[in-house]
């Protein structure tokens, strides 16, 4: 895989998840107690042996820069190759919309890299994929572009690209659908392309007025390329809405999903915080929950996910909730069906309850 460079495209449309992404890009959403969403695709790249990763910075780059920093936690603070930040072009360079201009204005990064292939992913998927298998598939099929899909097991709303493929993996149709159904082959926004072809595709499409890489560059020009797709049969979640975010977190309370994503031979890396182990005090009662290091627990927690450094006071009851980093849930309060963003304080004896299918969201730094 030293012949493959990775690109993570952080240009997602945030609208469906706005409360949590007001100050951050969706890809730097805290997830699963200690991670950010981007950790999953970045760790998959690193574990697959990719040494050169470009991150296309989103409009709100602060949270991404603050999380990834030098790339050292992902072994990407290298003298040669390693992590690169690719900023968006300034307004004087381009006022066009869409993600294509970002690729176009960073083409020199691609051209100066020594790798033969480009692996393009987005940062809003949860998965643990070995991309080196994809490269083998790509080389065996002699594809121009290889994509990865998963097979949907249930109906679900949300815009997604759905594929139809022949038995050998050749993509016969590809279209953006408003929802997915049982057995849909849903694209995971992963593309492996020879760099030469990728550069030509970006340049031609942008210079002929294209705006969106997927729509204008790939879907519209699908008949010009030999496109194949291979299936990923492990866990996948696309975090494109608040409910998808909530559901994907809760999925991790299934030990099989937790084991598959995190405890296999390929770890998911994240920014280290050197938090101490969780302290369970005399009055703690915890059931079916994920608890991250740095928490101190004196109350009850059930079906919930506690991020690093959360304090749970005596007499507290937390249920079906996601409590982010450094929240302080003080004595005798009740928290049910809630997503607490970072640094929230729930003071004593407060009762907060969201709906079963519509969690209450408490924004960052609020004191209640």
């Amino acid at each position: 895989m030293k012949d493959v460079m990775g690109i993570i495209n952080l240009q997602e449309d945030n609208k469906l998840i706005r409360e949590l992404t007001d100050k951050r890009a969706v890809e730097s959403m805290p997830f699963a107690g200690r991670y950010r969403l981007i950790d999953f695709t970045l760790s998959s790249m690193v574990n697959s042996g990719i040494l050169n990763v470009g991150v296309m910075l989103p409009d709100k780059p602060r949270s991404v820069l603050d999380h990834l920093r030098s790339g050292k936690d992902w072994d990407l603070a290298r003298r040669h190759d390693g992590l690169f930040y690719l900023p968006s072009p300034s307004e004087e360079e381009s006022i066009r919309k869409g993600d294509l201009k970002n690729f176009y204005h960073n083409l020199d990064f691609f051209e100066h890299s020594s790798q033969k292939y480009v692996l393009l992913t987005s940062g809003s998927f949860v998965y643990n994929v070995d991309f080196s298998q994809m490269l083998r598939f790509h080389q065996n099929t002699s594809a121009d572009i290889t994509m990865v899909y998963y097979t949907a097991k249930e109906e679900q709303p949300g815009r997604n690209v759905v594929l139809e493929t022949a038995e050998n993996g050749l993509v016969t149709d590809m279209a953006e659908k408003p929802a997915i159904y049982d057995d849909s082959k849903v694209a995971m926004n992963v593309y492996l392309i020879e760099k030469r072809i990728f550069v030509e595709l970006v340049r031609y499409t942008y210079e002929h007025g294209g705006q969106d890489l997927l729509m204008d560059g790939i879907i519209r020009r699908a008949n010009e390329y030999n496109i194949y797709a291979c299936e990923h049969d492990g866990y996948v979640a696309h975090v494109d809405s608040t409910s998808a975010y909530y559901k994907a977190n809760m999925d991790l309370l299934q030990p099989e999903v937790w084991e598959e994503l995190f405890m296999g031979s390929n770890s998911i890396y994240t920014k280290g915080k050197d938090e101490v182990p969780v302290q369970y005090k005399e009055t703690a009662k915890v059931k079916n929950s994920l608890i991250a290091n740095g928490c101190v627990i004196r109350g009850e927690v059930e079906n919930s996910i506690l991020f690093r450094g959360v304090t749970v006071g005596k007499g507290v009851k937390i249920k079906n909730s996601i409590i982010m980093q450094k929240c302080d849930i003080q004595d005798d309060s009740l928290v049910e069906n809630v997503i607490c963003d970072k640094n929230v304080v729930i003071s004593k004896e407060k009762w907060l309850k969201g709906a079963n299918n519509y969690p209450l969201i408490i924004t960052k730094n609020v004191v209640i």
């Binding site: 995190f262 182990p277 969780v278 302290q279 369970y280 005090k281 994920l290 608890i291 290091n293």
Partner: protein
């Protein structure tokens, strides 16, 4: 090139035989402590937090495993241009290799390392103690006193003083007398085994001591008394706070239990963080029927049974119906359904079979060595 002002040398000891089965496969500094740390994380983190970036680790035993744990030193931010962690086992030399004979001999055998680094001061630390300390304050005091050597001291209860090396100092802190394990101590200021020396001063005494065939080449027994005899400027530097020797099974177990008190005497969450080099693992999972209290649990573990008064390290599996009490369970150990563990230390990668029992008692903690399996029929007590 930036100059190294103060070089730290950590005496990471011999085969650590007082820790018995726990050091069968790893050097003592790499023994797990406190739910996710290794003993050596404490002096290394203290160095990092004190602005000391070049550290020699002197070990006789299993240097490769220690090298694997310390890696490039990046966990402690010691992978810097002029800094770094250097593991210093006894190398083969022109005359053949010698085991380190005592603490002073270990430093003496590495004088060429010290000369290469060429610091003004050498800080000598022991790898057996759990504490947090900013050594830069001690160094500052050393300079202010124009001392040739400064020894870290801590007040111990008078009745325990006879177990320690005891300092008798004047009002300014200058050391007048040093008694190793005195029957009738004149003070309760015990040496912590932490020394700052002016480099050239230290070198002179080590070279003299090496020639003395009657010496046991030990700082406490030989070097310090010799310096005092010569009326050298030796000062004490008083430390207040938690400081615990974890060189024996019982003290290691007790120091782990200390962390479980509601207001622990030693707060791992203090102002200065303790760094460690851990594999990346997810938050731990507590199952629907689990019961956990008065315990510490770390990342990557899965608890389906009961845990009380125990310290659980990363990647541990605790099955359904298991009862773990008053115990320390080290990384990646598996305790299968229905097993019972009480007053025990289970080293890394152990397995306790379903229904098996591992039980010790206060003062006689049972130890299961790294990689061992306790079968249900063979269960019961094992010698520590």
């Amino acid at each position: 090139m930036r100059k190294t002002e103060c070089l730290a040398m950590i005496l990471a000891g011999g085969q650590g035989s007082r820790l018995g089965a726990l050091t069968k496969k790893i050097a003592k500094p790499a023994v797990p402590f406190g739910g996710k740390y290794r003993i050596i994380d404490f002096p290394l983190s203290n160095c990092a937090n004190s602005g000391i970036d070049k550290v020699g680790v002197l070990t006789q035993y299993r240097p490769l495993e220690l090298h694997n744990y310390l890696a490039s030193g990046s966990a402690w931010d010691l992978d810097q241009k002029n800094g770094g962690i250097f593991i210093l086992p006894p190398y083969a030399r022109e005359k053949g290799a010698d085991w380190y004979q005592g603490t002073a001999d270990a430093i003496y055998q590495n004088l060429n390392f010290i000369d290469l680094a060429d610091p003004e001061y050498v800080l000598i630390l022991s790898g057996d103690h759990i504490y947090t300390m900013d050594y830069s304050w001690m160094l500052e005091a050393h300079k202010m006193n124009k001392a040739e050597a400064t020894i870290g001291v801590i007040e111990v209860p008078w009745e325990e003083a006879p177990r320690f090396g005891i300092m008798n100092t004047d009002k300014t802190g200058r050391i007048e007398e040093f008694e190793e394990k005195p029957a009738k101590p004149k003070s309760n200021l015990a040496s912590m085994g932490i020394y700052v020396f002016n480099k050239n001063f230290l070198k002179k005494y080590l070279e003299e001591d090496a020639k003395d065939e009657t010496s046991s080449h030990d700082f406490g027994k030989n070097i310090i008394p010799k310096m005092l005899k010569d009326k050298a400027r030796l000062y004490s530097y008083a430390f207040e706070g938690y400081w615990k020797d974890v060189g024996t099974i019982e003290s290691l177990w007790q120091a782990n239990m200390d962390l479980l008190q509601d207001q622990p005497p030693f707060d791992l969450k203090g102002e200065k963080k303790i760094y460690s080099s851990n594999e990346s693992m997810p938050p731990h999972y507590i199952g629907p029927d689990a019961k956990v209290k008065n315990s510490m649990i770390s990342e990557g573990s899965m608890v389906l049974g009961e845990v009380e008064n125990s310290v659980i390290f990363p990647g541990v599996r605790i099955g359904k119906g298991v009862k773990v009490t008053n115990s320390v369970i080290m990384p990646s150990t598996v305790i299968r359904d229905g097993a019972v563990v009480d007053y025990a230390i289970l080293a890394q990668n152990c397995e306790v079979a379903a229904g098996a029992k591992v039980t010790g008692q206060l003062g006689a903690i049972t130890v299961v060595a790294e990689g061992e399996t306790v079968e249900a029929e063979a269960s019961g007590k094992q010698a520590g």
